[in-house]
Amino acid sequence: MALIHLSSPHVSNANSSPNMMRLVLIALLPGILAMTVFFGWGTLIQIALAATLALLFEAAVLRLRKRPVGFFLRDYSALVTAVLLAVALPPFSAWWVTATGIFVAIVIAKQLYGGLGNNPFNPAMVAYALLLVSFPVEMTRWTAPITQGGEGWQVASFIDTLRVIFGSVEPAFYDSFTGATPLDELRHRNGLTTEELWRQSDVLLNGVGAWYAVSAAWFMGGIFLLSRKVFTWHTPLSMLIALFLVASMFYGFDPDSYVSPIVHLGVGATMLGAFFIATDPVSSATSNRGKIVFGASIGVLIYIIRTWGNYPDAVAFSVLLLNLCAPFIDQYTQPRTYGHAKPNRGLKGKNQ
């Protein structure tokens, strides 16, 4: 008969962590599709490469740590990390860039900290930031999107893409269809006003459409996840609103030297970050109010780094910085418990 001491509740709903990870993977599909359409085969190849490597690394480390390999592989978290990193990398990055990134993400940022649930930083973003710092050239060479003269798609066929990624073509060929991203373009403005820059630059004039489309795809995926209650609205919404508000403020103040808020929301990794990266539960704040603070801070930081920082895109750094602050935010944003006049603040207890 029954075992004793089984604690209640005796029923639970079917939503399991692996299931949630699967939902995230599904929600990533429209964005992946959009990227493939606009930037060529590169994205798909990167995803395949990253996923394979991630699973291999994860299995290897689990074996080293004497953990049940199958059980943990089936939680899909390694796959999610791999896909997130793969879509964040330029589609034509060399294979060793991806491999280094995955190694850092899975082995160092995740497993060395104790595996899923114990990592203080978002693994994909740790890897991305590291790659950005180590290989700045490789990391800023994006494919020109199909909307920009329609070349990328035709020039780099599947085979060519493979050859680019695995490093057996001339750099000249490679250069012929890659270029800067809109954010790069907007950074290195050489004294032009935004208006002039916009009219002058091919990337901005024609290429930005592709970026908007991809962002829209990420946004759709995010809405899907929200509807499935995989995360709450607090983080993404507060992040987007904060970014929008700060950007509008400066834009309204001086439209010549600052970029419009729409562009901020639409290009780069803003949408991807808002819905898929900042919402990573493990490394973000927990309470609802905490999530709002967390998201809003990321939004503001993104703007600051994009506008005055040294790197074109800022999602990774902002998220990592806020990951660092998450425990602190948690301590000061405890919800007001039922029956208490005001929430508890800070931590009690001798340690820490």
Partner: protein, 199 residues
């Protein structure tokens, strides 16, 4: 020259100011701390059994405050050692088995029809938990007994038993659920330790 002088003077004034500030703060915000002996004594189990080698918990608390080892109290066991280590900011060490082993809590029980009324146990009991008079039957007030064992030896007819306290539904504790790792891992202690290092 004058710049150097200015700098020196400014620094000096600053130093004086901060010194005053600090001095004021240390007076104003002084934490009226319990003397350490009281704090230690509050952690010790107050069984007063003397197994630590001191005549009661308070003397041992004083000894600890003067630098004695914290692992000599068997009734308190590992939990007490850890609390002491936490209080004194030292590494917890395992219980010194020389002083005895951690045993389940118990109470003394006098088999009353065998008691000859010698009052020896009354004299031995550190917390006056035994009731009786010369040549009368004695009995233990169970709620006051700390289970220190001291009354057992003096009894000439050996009629005192130490009975382990049984868990009743009212004192029963929920067990700690096995940690997520242990549930599924077929692994050994080594890797559990490793996981603790990692996490």
């Amino acid at each position: 020259m004058s710049t150097i002088l200015t700098a020196v003077i400014v620094l000096f004034i600053l130093a004086v100011l901060f010194g005053l500030l600090l001095g004021y703060a240390s007076v104003r915000f002084r934490v009226e701390g319990n003397p350490i002996v009281d704090q230690i004594d509050a952690i010790l189990p107050q069984t007063q059994c003397g197994q630590c080698g001191y005549p009661g918990c308070r003397p041992y608390a004083e000894a600890i405050a003067n630098g004695d080892a914290i692992n000599k109290c068997p009734p308190g066991g590992q939990a007490t050692i850890e609390a002491l280590a936490d209080l004194l900011d030292v590494e917890p060490i395992p219980l010194d088995s020389e002083h005895g082993e951690e045993k389940p809590r118990s109470v003394a029980y006098i088999r009353e029809d065998e008691c000859i009324g010698c009052t020896k146990c009354i004299q031995a009991c550190p917390v006056d938990a035994i009731l009786g008079a010369a040549k009368q039957m004695h009995t233990v007030i169970a709620s006051e007994c700390t289970g220190c064992d001291l009354c057992v030896e003096p009894c000439p007819v050996d009629c005192i038993d130490m009975i382990p306290i049984e868990t009743t539904p009212n004192t029963w504790k929920w067990p700690q659920p096995p940690s997520p790792m242990q549930l599924i891992a077929t692994d050994t202690g080594r890797s559990i330790a490793a996981s603790e290092v990692n996490s």
